[in-house]
C-alpha cells in the first residue's frame, strides 16, 4: 500500500491540482442550479444554456476589448461583465415570462418548459455565434504558466488554472455563505428555501425572492461559462453536458446546500482527475458513481435535511 503511494504519490499530487481547477468550474455552475432548485423548486434544464451563453458573451466581449486596443488583463473584466449581463438580462426575462407561470405545477410540465427553453436558446446561440468554435484566451496567455516540480522534471500548468479558477470558486463560496447568512436578503432566501409557506405567512414577498434568486442563479451559471471560455473552444452543445453534470452535483449535495455543492464538486473534480491517471475508462462514470454512493448512504444528499411529507 505504502509502496503504491511512494510510486504514485507525485502523480496523485498532479491529479489533485487538476482536480481543483475542474472542481472550481463544476461548483460555479452547480451552485447556481442548486440555489434555484432550492428556492423555486424548479429543475431548470435551461441552466446549461445560461452557462453556454455566458461563455459566448465573455468570449465576444474579450474579442471586442482586444480589437478595441485594451490590454489583455481587461479580458478578465469581460468575464465578470458577461456574467452580470446574462444574469441581468436573461434572468428576469425567463423568470417573469416563463417560470412564474409554472410554479406549483406538475414537475413534468416544469421540466418540459425549461427543456423547451433550452432548445430555443441552443438555436439562438447558433444564430448569433454560428457553429464554428469560438474562443478568446488573451487573459489566460497573459497570466502565463507556472512550472510545477515533478521529480526531476517540471510540469507546466497555466496560472489561470492553478490560481484564478480555484480562487474565484472560493470567493464565490465564501461570499455566498456570507450573503445567505449575514444579510437580510440572504436570510429571506434561506427562509423561503426552508419553509416557503411559513415565510410567505410572515410577510415575505416570495415573488421578489424568486426573481432575485433566479437572476442570481443565472448570473452564477453565466460566470461558470465565462470562466471556462478562456480554456475551451465554444461550440453548440456545450450547455447540454454541463447541465447533466450539474444535476448530479445537486442530487449529491442536497437541496439548496452551497457547502454541499462545493464538497461534491471537489469530490467529482478530484475523482475524475484520479481516474484519468489510474483508470481512464472510469472517468466518465466517476460523477455518477459518487452520486450513487452518497445517495445510498444519505438519500437526502450530503448536506440535505430530511423533509417530512405534508399531507
Amino acid at each position: 500500500m505504502f509502496g503504491w503511494f511512494e510510486e504514485n504519490g507525485l502523480l496523485l499530487g498532479l491529479a489533485l491540482l487538476d482536480g481543483l481547477a475542474s472542481a472550481a468550474l463544476i461548483f460555479l455552475v452547480a451552485v447556481g442550479l442548486n440555489l434555484v432548485f432550492g428556492v423555486l423548486r424548479v429543475l431548470n434544464v435551461a441552466h446549461g444554456s445560461l452557462y453556454a451563453i455566458g461563455a459566448y458573451v465573455a468570449a465576444s466581449l474579450g474579442i471586442a476589448f482586444a480589437s478595441g486596443g485594451l490590454p489583455p488583463w481587461a479580458s478578465f473584466a469581460a468575464l465578470v461583465v458577461a456574467a452580470a449581463l446574462v444574469g441581468a438580462v436573461l434572468g428576469p426575462a425567463i423568470e417573469g415570462l416563463l417560470l412564474r407561470r409554472v410554479y406549483g405545477q406538475e414537475q413534468v410540465l416544469q421540466l418540459l418548459v425549461t427543456f423547451a427553453l433550452f432548445m430555443i436558446l441552443e438555436d439562438v446561440q447558433k444564430l448569433v455565434w454560428g457553429v464554428q468554435p469560438v474562443h478568446h484566451d488573451a487573459g489566460l496567455r497573459w497570466l502565463g504558466t507556472v512550472d510545477v516540480p515533478f521529480g526531476t522534471d517540471v510540469i507546466p500548468f497555466t496560472a489561470y488554472q492553478l490560481f484564478v479558477l480555484p480562487g474565484v470558486a472560493v470567493l464565490t463560496l465564501v461570499g455566498l455563505a456570507w450573503f445567505l447568512r449575514r444579510t437580510l436578503t440572504g436570510r429571506v432566501i434561506v427562509a423561503v428555501t426552508t419553509d416557503r409557506e411559513a415565510a410567505t405567512a410572515m410577510g415575505i414577498d416570495a415573488r421578489r425572492v424568486y426573481l432575485l434568486t433566479f437572476t442570481f442563479g443565472a448570473a452564477l451559471a453565466a460566470l461558470g461559462g465565462a470562466l471556462s471560455s478562456p480554456t475551451a473552444a465554444l461550440v453548440p452543445g456545450i450547455g447540454a453536458q454541463t447541465i447533466v453534470l450539474s444535476f448530479a452535483v445537486v442530487a449529491t449535495a442536497g437541496l439548496g446546500q452551497i457547502e454541499g455543492a462545493a464538497l461534491t464538486a471537489l469530490l467529482i473534480g478530484i475523482g475524475r482527475s484520479i481516474a484519468v491517471y489510474f483508470e481512464p475508462e472510469l472517468e466518465v462514470v466517476v460523477p455518477y458513481l459518487i452520486m450513487v454512493a452518497v445517495l445510498l448512504v444519505r438519500p437526502q444528499g450530503l448536506f440535505g435535511v430530511v423533509e417530512t411529507r405534508r399531507v
Binding site: 502523480l11 498532479l14 491529479a15 491540482l17 487538476d18 482536480g19 481547477a21 475542474s22 468550474l25 441552443e122 438555436d123 447558433k126 454560428g130 457553429v131 464554428q132 468554435p133 474562443h135 484566451d137 489566460l140 496567455r141 504558466t145 515533478f150 522534471d153 510540469i155 507546466p156 500548468f157 497555466t158 488554472q161 471556462s228 480554456t231 475551451a232 473552444a233 465554444l234 461550440v235 453548440p236 452543445g237 456545450i238 447540454a240 453536458q241 475524475r272 482527475s273 484519468v276 491517471y277 481512464p280 475508462e281 472517468e283 466518465v284
Partner: protein, 441 residues
Amino acid sequence: MTEAAIIPRRTALLGAAASGALLFAGAGAEAQPQKPAELKIGITTFLSGPASVFGVPGRQAAEMLADDINRQGGIGGVPLRLFFVDEAPGTDHLVGEFRRLVQSEGVQVMFASISSGSCLACTPLSDELRKTTVLWDCGTQRIFEEGNHPFAFRTQGYGTPEVLAPLLYLLRHRSDFRSLAVINQDYAWGRDSWELWKTAMDTLKPGVRVVAELFPRFNSTDFSTEITRLLALRPDVILSTSWGGELVTLIRQAVERRLFERSLFVLPVAEASLPQLGRTMPAGHIIGARGDHWNNHPAPRDPAALKRFVDEYRQRFNEYPIYPCHHMAQAFAALQGAYARAIQAKGGGWPNDQELAAGFRGLTFPTPTATITIREDGQGLEDQIVGLSAHGDQYPFAVPEKMIVYPGERVSAPAGQKSVDWLRTLKPEIVQQAGRPLGAG
C-alpha cells in the same frame, strides 16, 4: 385440404392474370419513368449539436452547389430540390425521416450522413427501399466490409486510408519513435480509428510502447488532466483523431502548456479545425484532411475549379471551405456523373433506381484535386494528402508542407477484405512505396 385447393379454377386464373398485369405494369413503370419536374435529394447532416461544425458547412456547400447546378439547367435538364434532415436527434429520428422523404416526399436520391452510426442505420434502408444512397461523409469501414449494399455508394475515402496514410507519413518522417499515447473522443470513430492505427502500427513497427490510451467523454471542454498526464509521460508521439471544438480546445490547451514542445502530434482530421486555430497551431506536426483537398494543394487536377469552389464558398459564407464541403462537392460530382452515365446508357431516357445505381458502380468522377473511382463494392477510392503543419503569408492559419499524396487504392483495404485483417498483412515496403512526395515543399 389446403386453402389453395378450394379456390375455384376460374377465380385463380383471373387472379393470375390480374397479378401478371400488375407485375407488368410495375415493371413498365420502373423501366420507363417519366423525367420528373424536379430531382429531389434528401440530405442528412448535423444541423445542431457539436458535430454541426461539420454539418452546417456541409449544408451550406450543398445549397451553393445545387444553386450552381440549377443555374446550368440542373441534372439532365431537371432542377434539383434539396431536403435536409438533422442527424443530431439520433438514429430513430433519422430512420423515420429517411423513410418519410423516400415514401412520402418522393425523394429520388438520399445523401447520408456525417456520423458513422447514421450511415450504419441508413444503408439497410437503402437496401430495403431500393433507393440510391450516397454516403457523403461518414468514415466507418464496416459499411462495405460487413455486407453488400447494392444501392449505397461512398463518394469519398473512409477510416482505413484516413488513418493509415498519417501512420505511413509518421513512419517515413520520424521512424525512430519508441513511445506513443492516444487521446481520442470516446465514441465509435475515436475507438475504431485507434483500433485501425494500433493494428497497422503493430504490423509495421512492432514494439512501440503505448504509454496512455485516453478517451475523454464526447464533447469534453477541458483536457487539463489528460494534458498533465501526457506532459508527465513524455511520449514521443501523441495521436489524436479528434475533431471540431474538442480538437481546437485540445490543441489550444496543449499549446498553452507546451505539450507540443515535448511530443510530436499526429492529427489525421486537423484540416477542419485549422482555420479556427489560426496561428495557434504549432508548426512541424503531422496533419491530415480526410482526403486530398488542401487549399494549398501544389498540383491539383483542375486548379481553376479548386480556386472557383474555394472563392465562391468564401464569398458566400465568409469562411474557408473545410473537408465536409469538399465531400459534399464530391457527392454532387458523383451524382452528376452517375446520372449522365445512366441517361446515356438508356439512350437519353430518365433512369430508374436500378439504372441510376448501375451508373454509380465503377464510376470515375473528377474533383478539383484528382479523380475518385467508386469500386464494385460501392466504396470510393480517394487520395490522401498528409503533411507537416506550417505557416506562411498566404493563409492566416496552418497549411501542410512537405506533403505526401497516398493514392486511394494503395491505402484502402481491397474489396472483400476486412480492414483489420488487411492491415495485419502490410509489409514494411509500403512505408516508402505507397506515397509520392508532392511539390517542392
